[in-house]
């Protein structure tokens, strides 16, 4: 019965979120779509940051690899879309694996720095990629090809994004509530004790990094077809800071927290800008500091004591 009820809840949520797509007008649709991408990214980032306890700055770089990968393969090199999609994801996974292998050996904050350097290098390489990557100007003038004769446009594309979020959440929750998820949290809480319990710490870190980065790549691919324009700055440092803030303020380690944090911090500027102008970023900085100092369980902790997975 539990299984049936939870499936119904999922379906209801997906239907409601999709229905919203048909109801929203032009500008609001763009906001909604981008928000969905941020939610997807926040979910996967939260797993790595809040559940495995690894601070990494490469999440957007992998989104970029996914986006640029699919656009270059499908539109510059003329590959069939299905193949381009799979290949772009495979490239993400492979690159993430290669980055993860040495990086997970680093102590403390140095993983964050290595991934920071990596992500900046990705930006530099993309910016200098000439014709292939469109350089600093990026690539434009492409469209999502028809899939099985259907052109997925308008509100249907938004529904696709809703499904992306649902898929990401489903995957991450499933992994969370398993021996793998427990191993991840054990590593976060006490890596020495985790190893003593038989957890292969290196291996789990590499797996988690590869998985979450590939999910980021998937989100990146979905992003590429929102505006049908991609350029380097989107995948840069500014956004990774914002993503980090979303996850912290939302409540690190909690899937609901990631969603709440992403929605809140993404929509807040639209509300705050008329009032405080550009200063909303300052507000975010203050929120992050306050969260870390006073309520590390974040907004999720505020909203619902039992959302934080301390009580199974």
């Amino acid at each position: 019965m539990r299984g049936v009820r939870s499936t119904l809840v999922w379906l209801a949520a997906i239907v409601a979120a999709s229905a919203l797509a048909f109801w929203l007008g032009g500008y609001a649709t763009d906001v909604y779509r981008k928000m969905l991408i941020w939610v997807a990214l926040a979910l996967s980032y939260n797993f790595l940051f809040g559940i495995v306890g690894q601070v990494a700055f490469s999440h957007f770089a992998f989104a970029g690899v996914g986006a640029y990968g699919v656009v270059i393969l499908a539109h510059k090199l003329g590959m069939p879309f299905g193949a381009a999609l799979v290949l772009a994801l495979a490239l993400c996974a492979l690159l993430a694996f290669i980055v993860a292998l040495p990086s997970t050996r680093l102590e403390g904050f140095y993983l964050a720095l290595a991934t920071l350097a990596f992500s900046q290098l990705v930006i530099v390489v993309i910016s200098e990629g000439g014709d292939l990557t469109g350089g600093t100007g990026g690539i434009a003038n492409y469209r999502l090809p028809s899939v099985f004769g259907y052109a997925i446009r308008g509100p249907w594309y938004t529904v696709l994004l809703v499904l992306l979020v649902a898929f990401t959440l489903w995957t991450l929750r499933r992994l969370d509530y398993s021996a793998f998820g427990r191993a991840c949290r054990a590593i976060r809480d006490n890596a020495v004790a985790a190893a003593a319990m038989g957890v292969d710490v290196r291996r789990v870190k590499v797996q988690a990094f590869t998985l979450t980065s590939t999910l980021a790549g998937l989100a990146g691919i979905a992003y590429a077809y929102i505006d049908n324009v991609i350029n380097p700055p989107v995948f840069g440092l500014e956004n990774i800071f914002l993503l980090l803030f979303m996850v912290i303020v939302g409540g690190s380690g909690s899937h609901v927290g990631a969603i709440v944090g992403a929605v809140f911090l993404y929509l807040a500027p639209f509300v705050l800008e008329p009032i405080v102008g550009h200063g909303f970023l300052l507000v975010f900085g203050v929120l992050v500091v306050l969260t870390i100092l006073f309520r590390p369980s974040g907004l999720a902790g505020l909203l619902n004591r039992r959302t934080a997975r301390g009580t199974t």
Binding site: S178, A179, A186, D189, A193, G198, V199, G310
Partner: protein
């Protein structure tokens, strides 16, 4: 106690720079036996413990577990072979529930491959169910049922020690290493612990422990190995050890001398 040692240590030596912490140590541990490692501070007990647990590799010598060499293997490999340990200072997973903490102990019995988990393989589900049953058993075995819904950080020190033990037992190890399990416990807590350890050994698990508290140790241990300055200076049953002049000279002094006298009259 049966014939073949489960753990066989031979010629174990460990240098830290210019310091020799353990030298040419040999000991055997049999299934179902409670072996205590004692000695004055700096005698090399912790180093020996950590060598067997795989925290670092020996400078010389070998450690055999069930006939296979484990010295030099990474900690998690040794754990998966069936050797678990507790820590002297409680090291719970503070962000997880009581049950989840113990379930991590079952890690070696559960398939944790992401792909298998995502595909919802039957084996994964069965292992998960079995692990949860085991965790529930252990919680009642150690009397922690009342705390099952509480956050790990709210456990008392004594309860935290029991959690350490539960976690180490969850994976159904063949050998369990206990690092000063009685330290900081009240008398009733010590009694509970002692009973639990006896029960564990009775099930055929080999227990190696480091302890300083002789009153706790002597009634409990089947055999005692005494170290001093990194070398084994005595080995045998508690009575003999209590009376061994070299041991007494090394560190026990009046305390056990008096205890030996009492044991003699018992």
């Amino acid at each position: 106690m049966s014939d073949n040692p489960l753990i066989a240590v031979g010629g174990l030596t460990k240098h830290f720079g210019g310091l020799t912490a353990v030298e040419d140590l040999g000991l055997d541990l049999f299934p179902g036996e409670i072996l205590a490692l004692i000695g004055p501070n700096g005698a090399g007990k912790t180093t020996t413990f950590n060598l067997i647990a795989g925290v670092f590799a020996p400078s010389a010598g070998s450690i055999m577990f069930g006939g296979a060499r484990i010295d030099g293997l990474p900690v998690h490999r040794i754990a998966s072979l069936g050797l678990m340990r507790t820590f002297q200072h409680n090291m719970p997973f503070a962000g997880m529930s009581l049950t989840d903490n113990i379930l991590v102990g079952c890690h070696t019995r559960c398939d944790s491959r992401p792909l298998d988990i995502l595909l919802g393989r039957r084996r994964v589900r069965d292992q998960e169910a079995a692990a949860r049953r085991r965790a529930a058993e252990l919680i009642s075995f150690l009397g922690l049922q009342d705390r099952i819904d509480d956050h790990v950080s709210t456990l008392s020190f004594g309860e935290g020690r029991l959690l350490e033990l539960a976690r180490a037992l969850a994976g159904q190890p063949r050998v369990i290493l206990l690092d000063e399990p009685a330290a900081g416990l009240t008398q009733p807590e010590m009694a509970r612990l002692g009973a639990a350890i006896r029960d564990i050994a009775a099930r055929g698990i080999a227990v190696l422990l480091i302890e300083h508290d002789m009153h706790f140790l002597f009634p409990l241990a089947h055999r005692i190995v005494v170290l001093n300055f990194g070398r084994k200076i005595a080995e045998g049953e508690p009575d003999g050890i209590a009376r061994d002049p070299e041991v007494i000279e090394a560190y026990l002094g009046e305390a056990v001398g008096g205890m030996a006298a009492r044991q003699g009259h018992a």
